[in-house]
Amino acid sequence: MRDVAAKLTLAALALLLVVVRPALAQAPVRLTVALITSRSLEPYNLAAAGITAALSDAGYAPVVDTFNLDGDATSAGGIVSRLRQERHDVILTLGSLATTEVARGIDDIPLVFCMVLDPPSSGLTAEGEASGRNITGVSMDIPIDAQLDAIEAVLPTAKRVGILHSAESTAQVAKAEAAANARGLSIVATQISSEREVSRAMTSLLTGSDVLLALPDAAVYTESSTRYVLLSTLRQAMPFVGLMDSFVSAGAFMGVGLDFVDLGRQAGAIAARIAQGEAPGAIPVEGPAATRLLFNQRTARRIGVNIPPEALAAGEVLVP
């Protein structure tokens, strides 16, 4: 009887070992994360989902505290104070406002930013470079090559690419000119100082260009000026290559967009590297790893442009 009990006990222990040991070996590591967003926007939610997914994939159990600035920089002070007290393992920020406001007050906790347009314009390190500080991240800059590739593929006869820009985006224009020259395209750049000059500048651009390309420039593209540009290009049957889904949904002929979950995954992977011991200051800022080609077929019909089937197959139709 005693032997039987002993055998049963041994069997139970063996079974327990078989079941529990792998689980112990794979137990995720707890990681405290502070996630600060600039405002409530669905793309930020998608990026946040990508961040947690990437951390989980890397073997971490992220414990996420979420903060939202709601577009109000003055609310950052309280959040920064809490971050200093609670000292999370890593801070992730979504958007330029959240990133700059948190970065101003925190220099001793690793900070990974995501969904930031043109990081140097907000005082952050440029893409491909390491900050040497506590900050690194993933930009939201759409590669100019992807935009010009799209123009070449969809509008093979378009040779003059119009760009409306301000002094803020002179560097981007120079980059675009270099990339265009390599393709046999020419850039027709018109510089303005504020959105109020958009209507005047559009008059010359619409006659001197075959296609209009949007660059992310806050001085040019505001709510009202964007509506004006969209309508002007539609009326003059000028193909307009916009930015992101919002431009294409609102009437741009096509655009290059990003996958926000993937952007979040990139940032999450960087956070995992930091958690594994890498110094954030040594990790170069990344750009988006992939882009999406977006079409508005309603606009294509209106301006009389036929999208090549192979380009259509490679892209996404936001408006059929």
């Binding site: 101003r104 925190i106 220099d107 509506r227 969209l230």
Partner: protein, 650 residues
């Protein structure tokens, strides 16, 4: 040192001190630029670009450049204020007066209005996605303001005469309801609502698959125990592929009072539906063409005797738009409609068949002679041929011109000035249908001619840097041949006649302030004076005033508050007119408050409270113009779709 400390204290009290954390261990350094510009652009790219208006000139335009006084109400506006139906969405606009469930006025003109005139001609054109919805019998709204708006992308309101593009019915203005298409918003969403006015469930879904898009919407509102609209069921749907689109909808109201019914004779049911198919294509980059065929149908009870009417409209329309020069566009269109109403007085009598055939052609030229200025000139010629039981009657021929100039200056100022004509053809009900209200018999008159309106208006708007926008509009409308009732020699018998002349003139203004996305405020007001003139005397009438104020704030990230007040002092009828069931409303003051809380990323709960103050509530109760009197409370639970919200697009 002491001075320095005092200065710091003073600066802190004045809010000039830098953020507490700014000088402590800066990760970016004190010279780091502020990211507000980048944040604004990111919000634009990741959010939704505001929409435009199409109803003012049959092409996409910014509101400030449209050749008319226009207002665009977006889906975001509708949901922020918790509007339950079309009427509640419209009522906060400057110049809109609501005098009942199915009665509204634009700048004092409507079915029952202070200029007199009989109450069953709408004088306002209602469109859904461009399809004419006014009923064929009275040319008014069968469902009208009770229509659900959960699937609405935007409502375009064009104030002033619209006959140069739309012909009859566009007398005081045009309302175009644009629904959310499948490509605009992907996924399913829904809302459940419970309140003192019953329970309601609404859903919408839509999406894109390959080159096709589709959307569907449904709504059911149950208010057992209420005399009006005890049940409302509504469905709408749309599908599109490669420039071809199909749209359909149907609304059923049980236990409601129709425009022609009275308290003594509630309509047991009324329903209306529409079906349209439309194709549009750019044949060349400069030449765009659109063709549409549509039908509307409805049934309802229209008189105390139990007379029922069945209505049908078949319509075909073609339109082309040509860009002649870089700043010159021409629009040419033609439309043919046949409209009919079949009246059944009672089962023992033969039904009467009323009808009219309408043919119209129109053109509009828009020219930009200099930068920032657009001159618009348009005209529509329309022929309306009525008939009774197949026998043709005298036809009406109307020419409706309209000219205007719009200057949109780079300083943010827009200046508009217009002159235009409009007309309201007598409805089939006025031409051929005699009825009895109480002890009074109304006799139709087949000699009626259209009401005619001449309008002149000017508008200035400006967008200031500090998030402030303002608009002021002055207008004058002169109306001839207004149809009303006159006494006959026989006691208690009245006959419809082109009896009145009237003048309506006024001013409306609005101002909005949006310093941030967390705070927006607006105020608008309209004052107008009107009188009508009969052959023997002038009848001065009281002025009409409407005013609205509202503030939307987001005190914490998950909660949004909305508080608004509306004042309306309007007369909906002519003093001494025994047929006006909605005569004289005392000034009304109403206050709305709403609190919406995000429970989860896609779930939101909202509590709304509405109150009518003082004696006005009793006036409403007497006239049966509102569902409930006094205080209304309702609670909503909303499930929002994923994605950035999308939009209607161009």
């Amino acid at each position: 040192m002491a001075d320095h400390a005092r200065w710091l204290i003073a600066a802190a009290l004045l809010g000039l001190a830098p953020p507490a954390h700014a000088d402590e261990m800066p990760g970016l350094g004190p010279s780091a630029p502020i990211a507000e510009d980048a944040d604004a652009l990111e919000s634009l790219l990741l959010g939704e670009i505001p929409r435009v208006i199409t109803a003012a000139a049959f092409r996409e335009q910014l509101p400030e450049e449209a050749p008319a006084a226009v207002v665009v109400i977006t889906a975001e506006d509708i949901r922020a204020v918790g509007a339950r139906n079309l009427g509640e969405a419209l009522e906060r606009c400057a110049g809109i007066g609501l005098t009942g469930r199915d009665h509204m006025t634009i700048r004092g003109i409507g079915p029952t209005n202070l200029i007199g005139g009989v109450g069953d001609a709408g004088r306002i054109l209602l469109l859904i996605d461009g399809v004419r919805i006014n009923d064929t019998f009275t040319d008014s709204f069968t469902v009208g303001l009770q229509r659900g708006i959960y699937d609405v992308a935007r409502i375009e309101i064009v104030k002033g005469p619209g006959s140069a593009l739309y012909g009859t019915s566009a007398f005081a203005g045009v309302i175009n309801v644009v629904t959310i298409k499948g490509a605009d918003r992907d996924g399913a969403e829904g809302r459940a609502r419970v309140g003192v006015d019953g329970t309601e469930a609404a859903f919408r879904t839509g999406g894109v698959k390959g080159s096709a898009e589709g959307s569907a919407y449904g709504r059911l509102h149950l208010a057992p125990g209420f005399e009006q609209n005890a049940a409302v069921a509504e469905v709408r749907g749309a599908a599109g592929r490669k420039g071809l689109s199909l749209g359909a909808g149907h609304t059923l109201l049980l236990g409601g009072l129709g425009p022609q019914a009275s308290e003594a004779s509630p309509s047991p049911a009324r329903q209306e539906g529409y079906l349209s198919i439309q194709g549009e294509r750019a044949l060349t980059p400069r030449f765009h063409a659109m063709a549409r065929a549509s039908s509307t149908a409805g049934t309802r009870q229209v008189s105390p005797s139990g007379m029922r009417v069945s209505e049908l409209r078949l319509s075909a329309e073609g339109r082309t738009r040509l860009r002649i020069l870089p700043l010159m566009w021409a629009t040419l269109g033609a439309e043919a409609r046949t409209e009919g109403a079949r009246l059944q007085e009672n089962p023992d009598l033969d039904p009467q068949s009323l009808g009219r055939a309408i043919a119209a052609t129109y053109g509009q030229l828009e020219v930009g002679p200099i930068s920032y200025v657009t001159v618009t000139a348009g005209v529509r010629a329309e022929r309306i041929a009525p008939s009774l039981n197949g026998a043709a009657a005298d036809a009406f021929n109307q020419i409706s011109p309209r000219v205007g100039v719009v200057a949109t200056l780079p300083t943010g100022t827009a200046v508009k000035a217009f002159y235009g004509n409009a007309f309201q053809a007598p409805s089939l009900a006025l031409l051929y249908h005699s009825t009895t209200v109480g002890e009074i018999t109304l006799n139709a008159n087949d000699k009626l001619t259209p009401e005619k309106l001449r309008s002149v208006e000017a508008e200035v708007s400006h967008r200031f840097e500090a998030g402030v926008t303002m608009r002021v509009n002055v207008f004058q409308n002169d109306i001839d041949d207004l149809i009303t009732t006159t006494y006959t020699a026989v006691q208690n018998e009245l006959v419809f006649d082109n009896f009145y002349e009237a003048r309506v003139r006024g001013v409306e203004g609005e101002i909005s302030y949006a310093p941030s996305r967390r705070l927006t405020a607006f105020a608008n007001a309209m004052w107008l004076d009107a009188y009508n003139r009969v052959s023997y005397q002038d009848l001065p009438l009281i002025p009409e005033v409407t005013a609205n104020v509202g503030v939307r704030a987001q005190p914490i990230s998950r909660a949004t508050t909305w508080v608004s007040a509306r004042y309306q002092s309007a007369r909906s009828g002519v003093e001494g007119d025994p047929l006006s069931p909605y005569l004289t409303l005392d000034p009304q003051l109403r206050v709305d408050a709403r609190l919406a809380v995000d429970l989860a990323p896609r779930w939101q709960a909202a509590l709304s409270v509405r109150n009518l103050f003082g004696d006005q509530a009793a006036d409403f109760r007497e006239t049966e113009l509102v569902l409930t009197d006094g205080t209304e409370v309702w609670l909503e639970l909303t499930f929002k779709p994923p994605g950035p919200g999308g939009g209607e697009g161009l």
